[in-house]
Amino acid sequence: MADHYHENCQALLGSLSEYIDGELPPNLCEEIEKHLEGCENCRVVLNTTKRTIDLVRVEPAREPIPDDVRERLFLRLNLDDFLEQKK
C-alpha cells in the first residue's frame, strides 16, 4: 500500500463528507468517481467512512428514555400530574 498521499487524494478527502451526504453537484461527483476507480486507498477511505457513519446511525436505536428518568424529569418540572399521559 502506497504510503504517500497524492494531491488528488487530499482534494478528494476535503469533499468526502459532502460526497457521502450527496451534497455535491454531479460534475464534482463524476470527478470523484473517476479518481476512485483508479485509487484503492481512497475507495477504502470512502467505504470505511460510510460504514462508520452507518454504524453510529443504527447504534442508538431510537429508544425512549428509561421510565425512572422520565419520572424524575416530570417531578422536577412539577408536571408529575401528566406522567400518565405517555405519548
Binding site: L13, L16, V56, R57, E59, R70, R72, L77, F82, K86
Partner: protein
C-alpha cells in the same frame, strides 16, 4: 428529533402556560436530549442533569421564544449549551472560547487503509465492536463530538446544526469531516489489528 418525528405543537398554548402541552413536548424531545447528554458527558447522571436543566430552562424562557427557529432547534440549542456548561464545570476550566474558536481547515490525512466493511453487522455492533465504537466517540474532542452527535447520530441538517451551535455552515462541515475521519481512523486501526493475522495466513 429528525423531521419525520417532529410533531406539531401549539406555540400559543405553550406560551400561555399550557402544562399539558409542555408535557407533550417533553415526551417528544426528551429521548434525543438525553442521548445528546449521554454522548457528550458519558454518564447517565450527567445526561439526566442536562435533560432536566434543558426543560427547566425552556420553561423559563418560553415566553422569549419567538418561533423564528423550530422548536427542536431551540431545544437543541439549550441542551447543547447545558451540556457544554456541564463539561466545563467538570473540567474546572473557565475557557469559554475554545468551542467557538476559529480553526484550521486541516483534516488529518488517513493512515490506515484496511477494508473492514465486509465484517458482519452483528460483529461490528456487538460487545467489543460496540465498545470500540463508543470509545472512539468518547475520544472525540467536544467541539467535534457535538457536531457529530447532532448531524450523524440525530440526523439534524448541516444548516440546523449551524444554527443550534451558532457556527457557520462551513465550520460545521469542517468539524463534521474531521469527526468522521477521526472515528474512521480509530475503527480502522481497531479492526485492522483484528484482521491482520488472518490476512497474513491467507497471503
Amino acid at each position: 428529533m429528525s423531521d419525520s418525528t417532529t410533531q406539531e405543537f401549539s406555540l400559543e398554548a405553550l406560551r400561555s402556560g399550557d402544562r399539558a402541552e409542555f408535557a407533550r413536548v417533553m415526551d417528544a424531545y426528551s429521548a434525543p436530549i438525553y442521548r445528546l447528554g449521554l454522548k457528550m458527558l458519558g454518564s447517565q447522571q450527567d445526561a439526566e442533569d442536562v435533560l432536566q436543566n434543558t426543560f427547566l430552562n425552556a420553561l423559563t424562557h418560553l415566553k422569549d421564544f419567538e418561533g423564528r427557529s423550530s422548536l427542536s432547534t431551540w431545544l437543541y440549542r439549550i441542551a447543547s449549551n447545558e451540556a457544554l456548561m456541564l463539561i466545563r464545570r467538570k473540567k474546572n476550566t473557565v475557557n469559554l472560547d475554545d468551542f467557538h474558536s476559529e480553526e484550521t481547515e486541516d483534516v488529518p490525512l488517513p493512515e490506515v487503509f484496511v477494508d473492514w466493511t465486509a465484517l458482519p453487522e452483528d460483529e461490528l455492533l456487538s460487545g467489543e465492536g460496540k465498545n470500540a465504537l463508543d470509545a472512539a466517540v468518547n475520544k472525540l474532542p467536544e467541539s467535534l463530538r457535538m457536531v457529530f452527535v447532532l448531524r450523524d447520530i440525530e440526523g439534524v441538517s448541516i444548516r440546523d446544526t449551524a444554527e443550534i451551535l451558532n457556527l457557520t455552515e462551513t465550520n460545521v462541515k469542517t468539524r463534521l469531516l474531521r469527526a468522521r475521519m477521526f472515528l474512521r481512523e480509530r475503527l480502522s486501526t481497531y479492526y485492522g489489528e483484528r484482521l491482520a493475522p488472518k490476512e497474513r495466513t491467507n497471503g
